[in-house]
């Protein structure tokens, strides 16, 4: 009985334990998919999976940004509105005949700028992120209706081709360019969080901001950075959404922030910060997507049963995830 063996014992236990929540989520997701396949014939079609990605690409990108924010223990309510604003600005500028490349640059700058401003207010004036980003949400949504009360179609060639390009077999199974962009964003984010100082500082601040400060970490810079990153991801998400719908509509993505937060938290990130992975967020988005798909495939639910069943499935999922988590603790 030496310390050595004790340490070894812990190591044997620790490795899987860290991954258990994520693995459990993955397993449950597969079970849910399995249920779909067994219930509905067309569900087994590979395109169904691809569609989940196609339809949730923008959500995924935004959720990745939100993961950064939540990891520091913050929250960003402005994402849905920033997505809408980005799409709206792009649509309006394209309608005015601005070249696509320029529109892209402008659209991609607005989100991060707003994020940067919010981050500064949150950090320097010590105001709770909830309120600051709520004001940001009002602002961005207000900009949408300010730009136009009605939806603006996008007819630009670049946008249309981005929207309609099918990668894979155009007649069979395919994904859209948005999916690839989303994957690139996920990969960059995962790398940033795991392998860069910025990423590690994000975890440290989420663990204990006071300690992070006393350890000499750049708390101000990091905190402002995560809101900027979230703004950037929202802007990318907005562009993807405008690819997806080929339009900008003032009321699009209303309430999206809740979906995004839900996805991040279902993916195992803790709302108080400090623990979570981008991969978990991917799973969280998939869970929401698959639930949605199951409901559409069923097609027999009326409007209110739809909501009840979504709530029910969410509950079942969370409960199992939690119970498995406890069992292995």
């Amino acid at each position: 009985m030496t310390t050595g063996t004790l340490t070894a014992g812990r190591t044997r236990f620790r490795l899987p334990r860290k991954q258990i929540p994520v693995l459990a989520t993955l397993a449950l997701l597969l079970v849910m998919y399995g249920i779909g396949v067994s219930q509905y014939t067309a569900f087994s079609n590979v395109q169904v999976i691809f569609n989940v990605f196609i339809d949730n690409g923008f959500l995924l990108v935004v959720a990745v940004g939100m993961t950064f924010v939540i990891l520091t223990g913050g929250i960003d309510l402005s994402v849905g509105s920033v997505v809408a604003m980005t799409a709206m600005v792009s649509a309006a500028l394209l309608q005015d005949g601005m070249p696509a490349a320029l529109v892209l640059v402008i659209a991609l700058l607005i989100g991060p700028t707003l994020g940067l401003l919010m981050g500064c207010v949150i950090h320097f004036f010590e105001i709770q992120p909830f309120i600051v980003t709520l004001a940001g949400m009002f602002f961005a949504r207000g900009m949408c209706t300010f730009i136009s009360g009605a939806s603006i179609p996008i007819t630009d060639g670049f946008w249309t081709s981005m929207s309609q390009e099918r990668i894979g077999n155009p007649r069979g199974n395919f994904v859209s360019i948005s999916v690839l962009i989303a994957f690139v964003v996920v990969a960059i984010a995962a790398y940033t969080l795991a392998y860069t100082r910025l990423g590690r500082n994000v975890y440290a601040i989420g663990g204990n901001p006071q300690s992070a400060l006393l350890m000499g970490l750049p708390v101000a810079r990091t905190r402002i950075a995560v809101y900027t990153i979230s703004g950037l991801c929202s802007a990318i998400g907005g562009i993807l959404l405008s690819f997806y719908t080929l339009s900008g509509a003032p009321l699009i993505a209303v309430g999206m922030e809740l979906d995004v937060i839900a996805a991040v938290v279902i993916g195992g990130t803790v709302l108080t910060g400090g623990a979570g992975y981008v991969f978990g967020t991917v799973l969280g988005v998939l869970v929401l997507g698959v639930i949605q798909t199951l409901i559409t495939f069923d097609g027999s639910l009326n409007s209110w049963w739809t909501k009840i069943v979504i709530g029910g499935l969410l509950f079942a999922f969370i409960l199992l995830q939690r119970l498995i988590g406890i069992r292995y603790k």
Binding site: F130, F138, G142, F146, W304, K307
Partner: protein, 356 residues
Amino acid sequence: MNDAMSRYRAITGHRLFWPAAVLFVMLAANTIYRPGFLSIELKDGHLYGTPIDILRLSAPLILVALGMTLVISTGGIDLSVGSLCAISGAIACMYISKQPDQSSLGVVVTALAMAMGVSLVLGAWNGVLVAVIGIQPIIATLILMVAGRGLAQLITEGQIITINSEPYRAIGLGHALTLPLAIFIALAAALLVAAFTRRTALGMIIESVGGNSMASRLAGIRSGRVIFLAYVISAACAAVAGFMMTANVSSADGNAVGLWVELDAILAVVIGGTSLAGGRFFLSGTIIGALIIQTLTTTVYAMDISPQTSLLFKAVVVIAVCLIQAPAFRARFSRRRRNSPPPAPVADKPKEQVPA
């Protein structure tokens, strides 16, 4: 002079000072825009005027926000309150609408009791998910937020249930002592919650759980029960708010009642000075927060700010409110001189120093 100075400090230092100041400024701005804004007249024995409207309309928000304050203080959050409002309103109206004599007091009381009962059960459900199973509050209550809307619509079958019941209507529109009854209900609820938390030790225990749950557990607090209770109280408050909202228009719309009220409620709580991270809570601050939010909404209508820009206006006001309240902001922008520090402890011996 020093005395006046310190009194000034004491007033501005009070945590309710800045929220109240913001409210005051908003009312003043409205009055400048339209001098009749604050005028109140007596019509049919009822006081009638915009300030009364603001009070009456903020009553449901105050109720919801009171419950939310306790939940937030435990370190949680309750997203389901809007749906709970819809459910309680729907049950009450549905039951009343099915009765032959809608105006009978008995019917209304039964309806309220039923609706309250269901709401308490749903509050307990939230409580169990958070306190017993240990699901993160935001997700636990999101479940009921989504499914609850569906439940409300299931109850009303997607229709707007119109009722014609005087006693029920009175909850939203009745008057007592020339003032809307809703104001008294909200006030009573506030006093009740205040008594419930501050006359007992519940308030301190909630704050302790929210402030440091591990330390609280080791001090022997059964934090599960406390958290559970907070969600149940929140549900009860939401239920009453639901009665008020539906009584106000004598109809229950499963889809519209209490839509997004959770956001407003959280905002009210936060403006009132309670931290979303949990810990200390301030009921009076929450009430002022709710009044600020309602005044803001009313201002948009009263000034007829165009719908296209009204959200921008709200954004500006919200951020201004927060900045003014934030000590860090004020510190940066006021170059005030420090008051003379408290008398120094006199060093009784000369300081010694040794050469290097």
